[in-house]
Point group: C2
Chain length 346, copies 2
DNA sequence: AGTTAGCACTCGATGAAGATGAGTGCTAAC
DNA sequence: GTTAGCACTCATCTTCATCGAGTGCTAACT
């Protein structure tokens, strides 16, 4: 059996309707609602074919049909057309990025908020990753006996700090000296190079403090790793307004997953190299997400993809709109960060 | 009418039962379940009295009774007895605090997680406040044209950073000079003093940069304010398992509020001066919380109360357990932070 | 007096029976 | 190949009766 233009047309109509109403759509609805010029009986036959081909499913005999994951896949790949954002949406978004300079964390948070507000689904935003960043400043601040705070600032203005143990009796002046030396040696080095092992030559200069230095690096690495996994979640409760989650148990299943930062991180990580990814239903790794779709996109600083963000919604998500929103927010976010942090690279 | 010992006893039995079952409790249940030695008829009379006095409510004529907010108030004030944590709970908690030194943010996050896991309600934790903290280190790091990052570290090892504008053409060496001067002048000053206006004498020394300095302070203040309002939320989805939220709309009402960080902050702020607060139902400022109870407690660094945390649950919350858990977690958290950051003050 | 047994009554919850209607598949005619 | 017509399916809604937990009241008991 072949998927001709007419079947395609009918499938599109069904998907469009289902995205809107969330209830199984019957042949008569399609016959009437569109200018397709076919009777319900004909459409019925076509729908029967589409079901056989795996694009439609029937909840029970006397219900209409709903699109399968396969249908959505076809839809996003070949059928749907990009949609435009409304004037209101555009101004809502730009409004939220026109504020004064803030901290990167705030912008990340803001982005999550805007994304979930405009899409009315759940959104998540991963912080900019740092391993390609370069070190601009490093400093050790003594804190009482045996402890110090390690501060670093990257060239793009992101900071990390990490509490470390230092040898007892070490003076602040000694910390100063080490800080200066670290700055001299490490400035403008990429963080992942530093992590790797470019420390050997420095260790020599420090003499007795070589072991201490290792602990600094290790601690820094752990801290970076930890922080990089922080995901900002927003609008999870939007999902409760959708009919598919009118049953509390369903809602609990999906929302509980979203409460786990790890799970969100897994959905977002390692997707910096593609502009968009769309995972529909069973295409998600997590089986608890098999009734959801997850769309991710990337943002950049300068021309370097530096982070990802995503939307979680039902498989009958309004893909055209979500993609339009994410494209626009991705650009806006990238511009904002680039202007804010890194005018040279632009 | 008087609230004699017997009425009290009956009320306690009703509350205990209702906390457990969440369904209206009738006179027979009480007569049988306790060793109170009274017939259901007698208890019925007493219950009728208790209702008249405002301690009980009847959802409809032929249902049992449920405790009113007033009853819970009496219960937490006079009736209930502290409960003990189980061995498992204690070890679960200490396990999560025995990890290596981390960052304060992580500990806050961890606390929220532990608190919601043990209570099975929603928990929230406010970050340590900084205005009573003293400045240990301040530094300006230049970032490309016209921008710099302001870093501060408090005596307890907490950091804040804030992106600021600097006059165009200002050199890194100039920033160094200002940083040194700021350090010399401001070290060991309380942050709120700095915010207030102890800057006048410094402004003089800076000459032409006086206006610039003002913007630094202003930006720092805003950054502190912002960050101080961050509330870590955890376990919100636990509420979905409770029968009172088996209706999605109810659940949405309450969970949507919790998604707003501001709202949580309002519940937690300004409660550092009392060990515990308990707000039952209508006692909460937010009307959307009128079916919930919010319990807050404080934690300290050294002997200084420095932050608050709380639990949100239904009014039929298991108060004895929640208080026991919060007491224990508060102590553990205080110890952890104190050991970690601030051995002198201990 | 206070307590209790007994009883009529209330009212939500449960469930069965029937009606409704959206939707299908199939057949036969166009 | 398309469509009208029709019998059939099945979730959903409505109605109605039943059930039972729980009440308030009264009268008897201690």
């Amino acid at each position: 059996m072949e998927l001709d233009a007419r079947k395609m047309r009918i499938l599109q109509a069904i998907i469009d309707d289902y995205i809107l109403t969330a209830s199984p759509v019957g042949s008569r609805t399609i016959a009437k609602s569109t200018d397709i010029g076919l009777s319900s009986a004909t459409i019925r036959n076509e729908m029967s074919d589409l079901e056989e081909m795996g694009f439609l499913e029937q909840p029970h005999t006397s219900a209409g049909r709903i699109p399968s994951d396969k249908a959505y896949r076809l839809y996003v790949d070949s059928i749907m057309r990009r949609s435009q954002l409304s004037r209101d949406e555009l101004s809502f978004i730009s409004e939220h990025y026109s504020k004064k300079l803030g901290e990167v964390d705030d912008i990340v948070k803001q982005t999550a908020f805007v994304l979930s507000s405009v899409t009315r689904y759940a959104s998540m935003v991963l912080s900019p990753r740092l391993h390609t960043a370069r070190l601009r400043y490093i400093h050790l601040v003594g804190l009482g006996e045996g402890k110090a705070l390690l501060l670093i600032v990257t060239d793009s203005g992101l900071t990390r700090d990490s509490l470390i143990r230092i040898p007892y009796g070490m003076e602040q002046s000694e910390l100063e000296r080490i800080s200066l030396m670290l700055n001299a040696k490490l400035s403008d080095c990429r963080l992942d190079d530093i992590m790797a092992s470019r420390m050997d030559d420095i260790a020599g200069e420090l003499g007795e403090h070589a072991r201490f230095l290792n602990s600094i690096i290790k601690s820094l690495g752990e801290s970076l790793e930890q922080k990089a996994k922080r995901v900002e979640l927003s609008g999870a409760m939007n999902l409760l307004s959708l009919p598919e989650y009118s049953d509390v148990d369903r809602a609990k299943d999906i929302l509980s997953v979203m409460e786990k930062g790890d799970a969100l991180y897994e959905m977002l990580k390692g997707r910096e190299d593609v502009e968009f990814t769309i995972k529909i239903g069973h295409e998600n790794e997590l089986s608890s997400m098999k009734d959801c779709s997850v769309v991710t996109a990337t943002y950049k600083i300068g021309s370097e993809p530096i982070g990802t963000f995503g939307v979680i919604g039902p498989t009958r998500m309004n893909y055209p709109k979500v993609l339009a929103v994410m494209g626009h927010i991705g650009r806006t976010l990238s511009e904002t960060l680039t202007n804010m942090l890194d005018e040279e690279r632009k």
